[in-house]
């Protein structure tokens, strides 16, 4: 099966010109990423806080096209698997995701703080919506 065939089987929806998207279950994330890693590179991991749920978006790009994998998580105990085995660079974004959104990333090699200072409180996640002054 070629990469093109495998991509064809994915339930992608076009949201905009050159922008494709698909929802992914937590358990399928690594296997779907494995397919996409033959096609493009991981450009970014975006965290999104919708209040009642957290979303993690994985943007995988090739040429003008961007495929966004959308994983929905429970904000009380958000956990995803690390994409480090698939994309060697993913660990850096996962460190950011852990400290900014409090998402637990299973199996990521480096769990230390990336951007936040060492004395930042352990249970405060600044990019969550609840962490606002107003």
């Amino acid at each position: 099966m070629t990469t093109a065939d495998k991509l064809h089987d994915l339930p992608l929806t076009e949201t905009d010109t050159n922008r494709l998207e698909m929802p992914v279950e937590i358990d399928d994330l690594v296997s779907v990423s494995q397919v996409l890693s033959e096609w493009g590179y991981l450009a970014a991991i975006t965290g999104l806080d919708h209040g009642d749920r957290l979303e993690v978006l994985y943007h995988i790009c090739h040429g003008p096209d961007v495929i966004t994998l959308r994983v929905s998580l429970d904000p009380q105990a958000p956990t995803v698997d690390s994409l480090h085995p698939v994309f060697p660079q993913a660990g850096t974004y996962e460190r950011e995701l852990m400290e900014m959104f409090g998402v637990e990333v299973r199996g990521t090699p480096d769990r230390s703080r990336l951007l936040l200072p060492d004395d930042w409180p352990a249970d405060e996640y600044p990019l969550r919506k609840e962490a606002s002054d107003d």
């Binding site: 050159n18 590179y41 450009a43 943007h59 040429g63 961007v66 936040l116």
Partner: protein, 426 residues
Amino acid sequence: MPLTREDLTTVTGIESDQQTLEVSLDQLKNLVSPRAFTGETMLLNMGPQHPSTHGVLRLLLELDGETIVTCLPDVGYLHTGIEKNMEAKTYEKALVMTDRIDYLNNLGNNLVYSLAIEKLVELDVPPRAQFIRVIIAELQRIASHLVWMATHVLDMGATSVMLYAFRDREYILDMFEMVSGQRLMGSYIRPGGVWRDLVPEFMPALHEFVYNYMPYKLDDYERLLNNNPFWLDRTKGIGVITAEEAQAWGLTGAPLRATGINFDLRKAEPYAAYPELEFDVPLAYNGDVFDRYYVRIQEMREALRIIRQAMEVLPGGPFRSDNRKFVPPPRSELGHSMEAVIHHFKLWTEGFHAPKGEVYVRVESPRGELGVYLVGDGGPKPYRVHWRTPSFYNVQAIGRFSPGYMLADLIGIIGSLDFTLGDCDR
């Protein structure tokens, strides 16, 4: 002699609190080789005050003699929480923060953020503004590459190139001051177009710069460096990145194009007036420090070529959209039009409301793929702005591609990847 906890505290700079120390030791165990704990190799802390780390970057190095065994980049010293801050501002007011992300590509950051807003609210931009944006973006590319060259070559010991490059960058900053009133933090490119029209003295200055000044200066730089045995010794075959690895590690910009991969977002996913302009994407094939230098020098030449074409075909007409729902009216209308006053008041107090939606917009910054993921929730403030900054990846690449080289070569590798830590940390 085995390494003690105290030694490690000295090296890592982590306070001698017993608990944090335990954690830091455990973390290091997975990241450096076991030989570091027996004293066979040395741990060395480079930065964050080291002059050749181009900002505030700390590298934890494991050295075997002078050879790098492990290199762990540590970033975050310039983290300013811009993504969070932008959520608390209206769309238009948050624009001034984008200048402060990548301090060598200020107006390019304005551009990508404006493009994202325009896509979210479906706002059209007049053709004149499209061409002005290209001229400004390419000038910014030259200015950024000049700072890269100045600091990179200075790190390798050539002071004269640094002085020349900063002198030439000053011409560009003068032109930015003409159009925007500011040398660095211009906030000139706004949603819907640009802040104001080009001032009359701008075009003559630009003409002089792109025809009579900069091409000859680029010749000078190449004469100074291309056949310089010291420069060649220290750059050829150093910091080699293969095409496969560059892609796997998400590198973009000159580090990727120096491996022979033709990927430039100005061609791949054109924006502004780039589809109407003719230019080449410079490539090199060895992926070493010299090739990254070569690609950037040629990019400056292409930037001049783009600006020349854009100057020739620069159309007249409005420089900013006249959609009053999103773009404030010109000052001249405020004196006699009640409607203009209402629009002005509304836009500068409450701001415009963007619809619900998510857009991901990418441009080719001087450092590579610069993306903005913008989420609107129907209100006047962005719900979430995520910046995909090229430096974030380029910094991490040091850790992967410097082991095996000498400590002195590390400085060349850092310089050739051309990151700014403001861009990395946001």
